[in-house]
Amino acid sequence: MRQAGMYSGILNGGMSGRTGPHLLPLARIKKIMKRSGEDVKMISGEAPIIFSKACELFIEELTQRSWKVTLQGKRRTLHKEDVASAVIATDVFDFLVNVVSESGANSEDTPVVMER
């Protein structure tokens, strides 16, 4: 049986041929890196690979924190407002505050900022 994780790079627009057991497409990561600023000219081959793992860890952390908010609301469906709450409550996710506001999440009545 085919291992989905192993070949996800190919199925999801990865580089030519096998890109290794990455969950996220390296070519897309590289494009996003390039868009981040004028100064970004050259990117080594390893940088998108590190990001593929770092993004995985990031998604895991933000998801777990969001889920805690979901549970507090006694729900089993994770909503974007839960993600917004997790962002606001976590210092290290300060850079995301505008992103979750743009998504249309309602601003908190009394945001509580906790040290991570």
């Binding site: 981040s36 590190i50 909503h79």
Partner: protein, 138 residues
């Protein structure tokens, strides 16, 4: 300033297609699902929000890494710069798992991916690799 993105990434009016700006929703939601209990559900909007957050994360960290390179007068953002930026921005607990991941990856893949990337992506301006041609497999 030369647009390093290929023509395929832009529409005629120059704007970037949304799918090039974000990681695929299927991949992102797969990782989210893996983190949660089996009976958990995720709204579509939450997945889309997460897509936006991840792209912002990549930009944020890359910006920091790129600034370091600029200060040190280096043209290429490498893996160590990314690791440094992550630690500098407060993601120091990612450092351990990342270093192990990178080590394991280097052992398994060697320079094969570097050569593959060069062959498959002519538009990129990567630093010339020290290794030309195919490498013997380990």
């Amino acid at each position: 300033m030369v647009d390093t993105l290929g023509a395929s990434a832009s529409t005629d009016d120059g704007s970037v297609k949304e799918q090039d700006r974000l990681l695929p929703i299927a991949n992102v939601s797969r990782i989210m699902k893996q983190t949660l209990p089996t009976n958990a559900k995720i709204s579509k909007e939450a997945k889309e929000t997460m897509q936006e957050c991840v792209s912002e994360f990549i930009s944020f960290v890359t910006g920091e890494a790129s600034e370091k390179c600029k200060k040190e007068r280096r043209k290429t953002v490498n893996g160590d710069d990314v690791c440094w930026a992550l630690a500098a921005l407060g993601f120091d607990d990612y450092a351990g798992p990342l270093k192990r991941y990178l080590q394991r990856y280097r052992e398994l893949e060697g320079d094969r991916v570097l050569n593959q990337e060069k062959a498959g992506n002519a538009e990129e301006n990567d630093e010339p690799s020290l290794y030309r041609g195919s490498q013997p497999r380990n």
